[in-house]
Structure formats: C-alpha cells, structure tokens
C-alpha cells in the first residue's frame, strides 16, 4: 500500500510538470485542492490555519478577561453580590451540557477517521442538540435577569413593567414590519406547492432573517432607546454600588460566548449535511476536525466563564 501510494505520488509530480496536476488527484477524491500534492499536506495546512485562528480567538476573549480582572480587583463587593444573583444550578447544568457536547464533538472526529458515517451523523446531531439545550437554559437565565432589572450599564435597575410597557407598544412601522413575515411565509409555501423547491427555500431563509431582524429591533433597540436609566428594582436596590459593571461584563462575556455557540450550530448543520452526502473519508475529514476544534474552544471559554462569573465567594454585609 505504502509503495503503491508513493508511486502514485511520483506520477502525480510528473503530471505537475506538464501542467496537468489535477489528473493524479482523482484518486484522493474530489476535495484535494489542486495546489496541494497530498491529502496529508492539505490536512496539515488546514490544521495550522485553524490553530492560528484559535490563538486569535483566545487573545480576543482575553481582552474581556483582563477587563474582568481589573474591575473585580477594584470592586470586589459588587462582583461578589452580582455573582450571588446568578443561578449556580443553571450555570452548572450548562457546563455539563457543553462538556458533553465537547465529548460528542471529539467522538465525531474519531467516527469520521474510522469512516463510520452513520455514527458520525448521530454524534453531530447530539452536539447540535446540546448546543440548543445550552441556549435554552441561557434564555431562561437572561429572562430572569431582565425581570429583576439586572441589566448592563446604565439600564441596571430598570423595572420589568417598563420593559413590558415599551415592548408592547407597537408602533405602525413595527406592525408593517411584522406583517412581512406571514407574507413571505405564504409566498414560500406557494412556491413549494408549485414545485419550486429551491425558490421556496430561499424565501423561507429570507423569512427567518426577517423574523430575526424584526425581533432584534423590537426587543433590543426599542427597549434601550426609550428606557429611563438609573432606576431601581426591589432586587437592585439591595446591591452595592457598581454592581451594574459586573452585569455589563456578564452580558458581554456570556453574550459573545452564546454568539459563538450559535455560529457553532450553523457550522455543525453544514458539516452534518456534508457528512450525510458522503463527503468525508479517512483522507478527507479536516472540516470535521476543524469544526470540532472550534467547538472545543467554545467549551474552553465557558470552562473559565462559569467559575469566574457564577462562583464568586461572597458574604453579604450584615449577614454574618
């Protein structure tokens, strides 16, 4: 086998000399790029690039961790009290969910190395399921913080009834915006029934994007543009000064992390589709490998976020 492959490699180079480099590549499947000689070279290059990207990700997150370090050293009481308001159980559950998804991601790569396509698909679906479970828990956590007025920066202490009031008062522009959603949905369905599957798919995607934008604009822009800052709720009135800084960092750090989880879901769906299509084999699995590396990084960031945000030791003043 080794010799045969080496001979083949040799042939390949001869072809290269004549400017027909692609001929020899066929034996390795359609995914060996013409500028690489062998699958191994392509794999090593892709992996090196991935690690450079991961290093960048670590440095990018480190800026937030340094901000955390500075503010925690300045305002230890505010951080203790803020951390005390977070739900440890939910944080711990999410930690376990992400660790499990890291396991399934690692096993996915292994399954692809062994060309166990079916097993790999199941593991990818498990990873996606864990990612969604993580976001659902996060959604309930954020909802609870919003309810208690534990909002970032100057919006800290805004009572919930004000948020509800602002959210419910839909203006005419918002109504027109929302009306576009069912219209797109109906056209998409009509296209599907006419046998225009691809067109229906694009319209469905457009509808989803429309929902996202409409929801985002209403839910955040509208709230943050009209709220009266510097209020107090029953919960925030009890907290030390500058606890809002803790919650600014909490929302930015966990929010950016959640954004990575959402991107990860998209990546895994793409990889799952390619796996079902049969793109991968033992000489071509670097998209799976690199996606798993990305997913492990998302897990790594959470490994630090969980104890640093949720588990700060705190004895409230007057409770000793």
């Amino acid at each position: 086998m080794t010799e045969a492959a080496a001979d083949h490699d040799h042939d390949d180079h001869e072809h290269d000399d004549h400017g027909h480099g692609d001929h020899g590549h066929g034996a390795y499947g359609p995914f060996l790029q013409h500028h690489f000689d062998t699958p191994k070279q392509q794999y090593d290059a892709a992996k090196l690039g991935m690690w450079a990207f991961l290093a960048q990700e670590l440095l990018f997150f480190s800026g937030l961790f340094v901000a955390y370090g500075i503010f925690r050293s300045w305002y230890p009481d505010a951080f203790g009290a803020g951390s005390h308001e977070l739900n440890r159980t939910m944080g711990a559950i999410n930690t376990c969910v992400l660790l499990f998804s890291s396991l399934t991601a690692a096993l996915t790569v292994r399954a692809n190395q062994l060309e166990e396509r079916r097993q790999a698909s199941i593991l990818m679906i498990l990873t996606i399921g864990c990612a969604f479970a993580f976001l659902v828990v996060k959604y309930f956590e954020y909802g609870h913080k919003f309810h208690d007025g534990l909002l970032p920066g100057q919006y800290f202490g805004t009572p919930r009834h004000m948020i509800d009031h602002e959210y419910m008062s839909l203006n005419p522009a918002a109504v027109v915006g929302l009306a576009g959603i069912p219209v797109l949905g109906i056209i998409s369905l009509a296209q599907y029934l006419r046998g225009q599957g691809k067109m229906a798919g694009y319209l469905l995607l457009a509808m989803l994007a429309w929902i996202g934008i409409a929801f985002g604009v209403l839910h955040t822009g509208h709230i943050f543009a009209t709220l009266d800052p510097h209020g107090d709720t029953a919960v925030t009135a009890e907290l030390p000064d500058r606890t809002h800084i803790f919650f600014s960092l909490y929302f930015v750090m966990t929010g950016l992390h959640a954004l990575h989880v959402i991107v990860g879901i998209g990546i895994w769906f793409w990889i799952l589709r390619r796996n079902i299509r049969g793109d991968f084999n033992k000489n071509y699995f670097q998209p799976v490998d690199n996606s798993a590396l990305y997913w492990h990084l998302v897990d790594l960031v959470w490994i630090y976020l969980f104890p640093m945000l949720y588990l700060i030791d705190y004895v409230p003043k007057g409770h000793h």
Partner: protein, 151 residues
C-alpha cells in the same frame, strides 16, 4: 513529522492522524465532570482572596485536559502546542502589565479629598483616566442606611 507514531509510513501522502479510543474520550469527559463538581463544591467554602486563584487553577486543569486530549495536542504537530503555549504567555503579559498599571494608577499623584479623584500635584488638575477610589470600602450611602435592617 506531525505523526511520530507512524514514522515508517509518514511520507505516503495519506493522513495518519492518531485515532484515540472512545474509552479515553469518555474518561476525559468524566474527569471534566469531576472537576466541575469540585469547583462548585469549593466555591461553597469561604476562601476569601484565594477563591479566584483556586477557581482559575481548576479551570486551567480542565482546559489542559480539553486541549491535550479532545483537541489532540498530545499526538499532534508540536508546532500547534507551541502556538497555544505562546498565546497563553502573551495573555499573561497582557494581564500582568494591565493589572500592574491599573492597580497603581495615580499612586504618585495627589488625591482630591472631596471626590477621591487623582490629581496632578503641581496644578491640582484632575488626572486623565482618574477614577473614584473604591478602596477603604467607601460603601454607598443607601447600603449603609439599610444595613441594620438585615439583622
């Protein structure tokens, strides 16, 4: 070069990345869960300033397990491990210099007794980037008022 396990056939152009056993991955997963339980348990003990240090040490042990086994650094091209280690070192430099700066900012300038802001000694002007002193636990008034009610 990258797969020293397979030096004998390293040059056939095929990928010979190490395939770890599923058992190893499950073992690492359970170790990570044990560390998670440990870090939650220790957070219940009042360690004061050591709280953050212990949390970071346990998190780093978990991170090392993920990097070494899940991310295959144990059997990977050494250069990838060098990338990770040097990244961590640069993060350390980032932390050390910034914390050293912010921890002592304005220490040699004057302090305005009214606002707690740092000032230039010669002119008395407020120094750029000056911040109110968090030290001496200048607890907020509203908190002081309410403190007795907690008893």
């Amino acid at each position: 070069m990258s797969d020293h396990d397979h030096d004998h056939d390293a040059d056939d152009g095929q990928i010979h990345a190490h395939v770890s056993s599923a058992k190893l991955y499950w073992g690492i997963f359970f170790a990570l869960i044990v560390f998670t339980i440990l870090t939650v348990g220790i957070a219940g003990i009042h360690l004061g300033a050591a709280n953050l240090a212990v949390a970071v040490i346990i998190a780093s042990m978990k991170a090392a397990l993920v990097c070494t086994f899940f991310m295959h650094l144990s059997h990977d091209n050494r250069f990838h491990a060098i990338i990770v280690v040097s990244t961590v070192m640069f993060i350390g430099v980032f932390f050390a210099y910034t914390m050293n700066d912010t921890g002592h900012r304005g220490a040699e300038s004057g302090v305005d007794p009214q606002s707690g802001a740092h000032t230039y000694i010669p002119s008395g002007d407020i120094a750029p980037g000056s911040w109110e002193r968090p030290a001496e636990q200048k607890t907020p008034e509203k908190h002081d008022d309410k403190a007795p009610e907690h008893h």
